[in-house]
Amino acid sequence: MSDSVWQRAIPVYEDRSVKKTFIFFTILAIAGTILAVLRMASPLGRYSAMNDFYAWGVWKTFNVMTLTAIGSGGLAVGVAAWAFDRQKLHVVMRTALVTSFLFYTTGMLALMVDVGRPWNLWHILLPWHWNMHSALLEVAVCMPTYAFLFLAFENVPLVLERYSYLGSDATRARIAGLEPVIRKIYPVMIAFAYLLPIMHQSSLGALMLLAGPKVHPLWQTQALPLLYVMAAGIAGFAFVIGTLLVCCLRYSRPLSTDVLGELGSLMSWLTFAWLAFRFVDIAVRGKFGLLLALDKYTAYFVLENILLLVPAIMLRSKQLRETPRILFMAAVSAGVGACLYRLVPALIAFIPARKANYFPSVAELTMTLGFIAAAIVGFKLAIRYFAVLPGPIADWQFAFKPATPKQPKS
């Protein structure tokens, strides 16, 4: 269908040996999980440095509010591929969907660990207990629905695919029967799969609106929800680009500069739109003068914008965005910039009504990193057992097991 070198998602057949990095991430993930269990069985204060002034620590502000942005690849690439008909992006959809699913799942784990009275969470099932004015309610309802219904649905075909090759004849027949059903509801399901994250990613920004003057005026704006959801798109593109580059290099797959360049270009346009909204908003509110304070807020503000602006400009050059090394650095810069923008109003530019300090405890950070490690381990397993990463059609083997060793690459 496409003349790009990426024609199909293909499992990683080789590299079965357990590598040191994999062991490292597994250990970190297990440590995080053990601590999470301990934390759930203890008072909240024992494993975290949160306090009455910084009542939201890294679990909410980083794992949820920031990391679901890099889990927004499924939204960003999906909208581009399906709503804007960027055909060539279909081949990287699975990479986007799997990373999104994993990061949303870890975000939700962090949310579970963070709430102090989890036994009351069942109220979520009773709509008449919902406070319809609360942005947090919107997040609490919308985010799990998205992750475990729509995003999970989007990931179903790649699971079915494996079993239609590996399963018994009966399994195969059942899967063949399911396919038309999936295809029938697919357009509706993905429309919801884009609507929901647009809603909750913007609601994450809306959370900070209610904090009013406690958020530094450079960040406190009615445009927070819009800037938040757009930053999620930027971070989503950035993370998909980064993941593709890292994995393809690691598993010696050829790179499709065409597809990667397209992703880079989309990310760059979105970043320009984001910067425009942000600067117009600050100008309209007349807050540029605050930058003259030359304090840490000025520094963060400048840093965020530079991290985003520089790659956006660079990626306008076709030659640069088709140079993998440059594209990678640009994606990292934009991804970090977008994530920083999501973190700053929630934690760094959040100024409680009384002088107070918060720095995450070791246990808190271990859990934060452990959740990320769990996502990485999950991804590593997913690309091995399922056809996720894109590659040339010549590499496709019908059996998912490496029955025949791959011919050595030159």
């Binding site: 009455d52 319809m132 919107e138 959370l207």
Partner: protein
């Protein structure tokens, strides 16, 4: 093979624009303008110029609410909390500056007319009584998310970080213990000087204004703190020193909830915003999908590998 066109970017941005704000008030939020005062709004008036700092209200508060006194700073001798905390919902603090001006201040929940804590609480654990206007907490509904701590402009709700069954602790106007039975709250009943008094919001506001009129220039800016701050509160302050010295933030007249839901209440009203975004998305996706399916069938008919979703 072309990259994304400018037109597409505008469409994309438009989509985001349609989703602007989205903080989820599915029903429309309070309409704006001055806050609504509950019909029988109860109130407290604290006149810092009268308070002698005896702290009788503090022990009365702990006793009424069955809170173990925080004796942390006094080696366990007597109640001496450093600030409001999970064992202290009412505190008397002293502001004292080297130039010689000083004042006591009583800090507690303000029982805002448009409380941010209530607006943000996902499962209505915090609620404002429709009749009396007191803001109370219900442990059966609270999930311990601590959004109330993030949103309260006065930094009032406290969380029991050290408990297995942690509660949100804040003044609830002694609703359960006393108000419900028509009695006065613990603190106002205990105050020997009348520095803090209990009454209806209407009466106490009139009382405060009378005091200001009676002694022009005595009170800071001749103002009652709480009349309009953050949309207005049900606890009022009179002070000789600037309110900010007492730790009372200078807030605009717009409440946080009003500010936060201004845009979203329009977008989410009748779910119109989400419906429009969905219609746009689905229209475009469905068109592209049909096209995609046609191509796929041709392609698979030619004997190519099955297409991957």
């Amino acid at each position: 093979m072309s990259g994304l066109s400018r037109r597409d970017v505008l469409k994309l941005a438009g989509l985001g624009g349609a989703a602007l704000a989205l903080p989820a008030s599915l029903a429309s939020a309070s309409g704006g303008g001055p806050s609504v005062v509950p019909p029988h709004a109860v109130s407290m008036l604290y006149d810092a110029t009268v308070c002698t700092g005896c702290k009788a209200c503090m022990s009365a508060c702990n006793a009424t609410n069955h809170l173990e006194p925080d004796t942390g700073l006094s080696d366990g001798l007597h109640q001496m909390p450093a600030d409001l905390n999970s064992r202290t919902m009412n505190i008397i603090k002293l502001y004292n500056d080297p130039a010689g001006s000083w004042s006591f201040v009583k800090r507690q929940c303000m029982h805002c007319l448009e409380p941010a804590c209530v607006a943000g609480c996902p499962f209505k654990a915090l609620e404002k009584d429709r009749d009396l206007g007191v803001v109370t907490w219900d442990g059966a509904k609270c999930i311990g998310c601590r959004y109330c701590e993030i949103s309260c402009p006065y930094q009032i709700p406290k969380f029991e970080w050290d408990k297995f069954n942690p509660r949100i602790v804040k003044c609830q106007f002694c609703y359960e213990q006393r108000l419900k039975d028509g009695k006065h709250p613990g603190c106002t009943g205990a105050c020997p000087t009348g520095a803090v008094i209990y009454g209806t919001r209407e009466n106490l506001l009139a009382d405060a204004r009378r005091r200001i009129a009676g002694y022009p220039g005595k009170y800071y800016k001749d103002r009652v703190y709480g009349e309009t701050e953050g949309g207005g509160t049900q606890v009022f302050y009179l002070s000789r020193v600037p309110f900010s010295r007492l730790g009372l933030p200078s807030l605009s007249d717009e409440s946080n909830p009003h500010y936060a839901t201004k845009v979203s209440s329009k977008i989410y009203g009748w779910l119109a915003g989400p419906a429009i975004v969905f219609a746009l998305l689905f229209g475009s996706i469905n068109r592209n999908w049909k096209h995609h399916e046609a191509n796929r069938r041709d392609h698979e008919a030619e004997g190519h590998l099955p297409e991957q979703l």
